[in-house]
């Protein structure tokens, strides 16, 4: 009879805890759970449930990774603008005792920052003149308002970068004097840890755009968004630190979507679709640096105005409308994962 040892020259290891890091093809016996296990590579990306937020919210800021993330601000039910901040450890969310100094929705985030070092900038605080240019810095336990403010106050733009090198691009404005109207900007701004300066404008002004959240000031990607009523776009633009270039569009036009990943390996998920109009979607697309491919597995809960962070291989979808509290975790194709060997 053929045996594992006969093929490989060594027996299956018996261990009390699963090995780390995982290597594809690796087989072991976990003597604590009495299970044979194997490491395989995923062939398609999949969404799994993560821990639920303590405070339901949408149109929030987010930063960090799938196992160490931060969510802040947004709109909480029924319709309150919040500064609440929560921390995620890969399993559950914990409410921070203090929140943003300026409660706001639709703010930009230094989303490539960490759970202990990020920024919140722009957004709408609900008071005249509506949009704010205020910038706050997160030190791991509290938010501190910094002197610098955006040159163009706006909400629901795209953002990425770190606490000392952030990028904010396009977005919309709203003023109480003109309720229900939105004017859009193509403005792009860079933060250097001290001040905001303008850079090359996007080609298409929009709000509710999806950013490659792990991007940088010199390599960013923005996709989708609201262009004008009733147009939602699938257009994608790439930034090289100086100027924006239009590249291939997404397969599904939508607004208020979320993103993750980098300029050459991004993820787009959720949002409100163009057709049918403004229906929540869980559709997920992968960007390989050239084109978008629709992932076979969608988010379990279709939603929009989600907090997004992480990478294409390990992304996080946080809250959003209408569900509000649920988190989903994306594992991209080609990622090593543990499977239990069964007889079926």
């Amino acid at each position: 009879m053929t045996t594992y040892k006969g093929i490989n020259g060594f027996a299956v290891q018996s261990v009390a805890t699963d090995p780390s890091p995982l290597n594809e093809g690796q087989v072991w016996y976990n003597n604590a759970t009495y299970a044979f296990k194997v490491t395989t590579a995923t062939t398609v990306g999949t969404w799994a449930s993560g821990g639920n937020l303590n405070t339901a919210r949408r149109v929030m800021g987010a930063a960090g990774t799938q196992t160490s993330a931060l969510a802040f601000g947004g709109v909480t039910p029924p319709d309150a603008i919040s500064g609440a901040t929560e921390l995620y450890n890969g399993t559950s969310w914990t409410s921070n005792p203090t929140g943003l100094n300026t409660a706001r929705l639709g703010q930009g985030s230094a989303s490539a920052g960490t759970q202990t070092s990020t920024l919140s900038f722009g957004g709408n605080d609900g008071s005249p003149p509506g949009n704010t240019g205020a910038t706050e810095s997160w030190g791991g336990s509290t938010w501190t308002t910094v002197p610098a403010t955006l040159n163009t106050a706006r909400k629901q733009g795209g953002s990425c970068g770190t606490q000392t090198a952030a990028l904010f691009f396009t977005g919309g404005s709203w003023t109480p004097a003109e309720p229900g109207t939105t004017s859009l900007t193509t403005a792009t701004e860079k933060y250097n840890g001290t001040s905001w300066t303008t850079s090359g404008n996007m080609s298409t002004a929009r709000s509710g755009i999806g950013p490659a959240t792990a991007g940088s000031q010199t390599a960013a990607l923005g996709f989708g968004g609201y262009v004008s009523s009733p147009t939602r776009t699938a257009a994608t633009e790439s930034f090289n630190g100086t100027s924006w270039t239009t590249v291939n569009s997404m397969n599904t036009a939508r607004r208020n979507l979320a993103g993750a990943g980098t300029q050459t390996s991004a993820l787009a998920f959720g949002g409100l679709t163009q057709t049918p109009p403004d229906v929540n979607t869980g559709a997920t697309e992968l960007w390989n640096g050239t084109s978008w491919t629709t992932n076979p597995n969608s988010m379990a809960t279709a939603r929009s105005s989600i907090g997004g962070t992480g990478t294409q291989a390990a992304a996080l979808a946080i809250g959003g409308g209408p569900a509000g509290v649920s988190t989903e975790e994306f594992t991209g194709p080609g990622v090593a994962q543990t499977k239990t060997i069964t007889t079926s």
């Binding site: 995923t42 799994a48 449930s49 639920n52 709109v75 319709d79 597995n297 379990a300």
Partner: protein, 98 residues
């Protein structure tokens, strides 16, 4: 594709795993209604795992309709000024299960 429906509360981490998602698509709707493929043993095992209660399509639609109606009533009760708040907020729309 034919679907089945169940009601189950999403407790968070572990409710739907990557292993589950690699075998079948779960789609969630208001009222803790979940849609799964009709002819999937893996999906049936998932419903058992999450202590879900199977519902007919009509029963599931009634639950979803009630949730949407509640959300619509809440929206209708807002003042015109509140409806114009900068949330890009729209009246919740009806959801028809497939």
């Amino acid at each position: 594709m034919a679907y089945k429906y169940c009601v189950a509360e999403n407790w968070g981490k572990g409710f739907i795993t990557h292993d589950d998602a690699s075998k079948f698509q779960v789609s969630g709707f208001p009222g803790n209604v979940w849609q799964i493929p009709a002819n999937s043993q893996d999906a049936n095992l998932w419903v058992n795992k999450v202590a879900g209660t199977f519902k007919t399509k009509a029963e599931a639609q009634t639950i979803v309709d009630a949730e949407v109606a509640t959300a619509q009533a809440a929206w209708d009760a807002l003042t015109d000024e509140q409806k114009q708040q900068p949330f890009n907020r729209q009246r919740p729309t009806a959801i028809v299960l497939e």
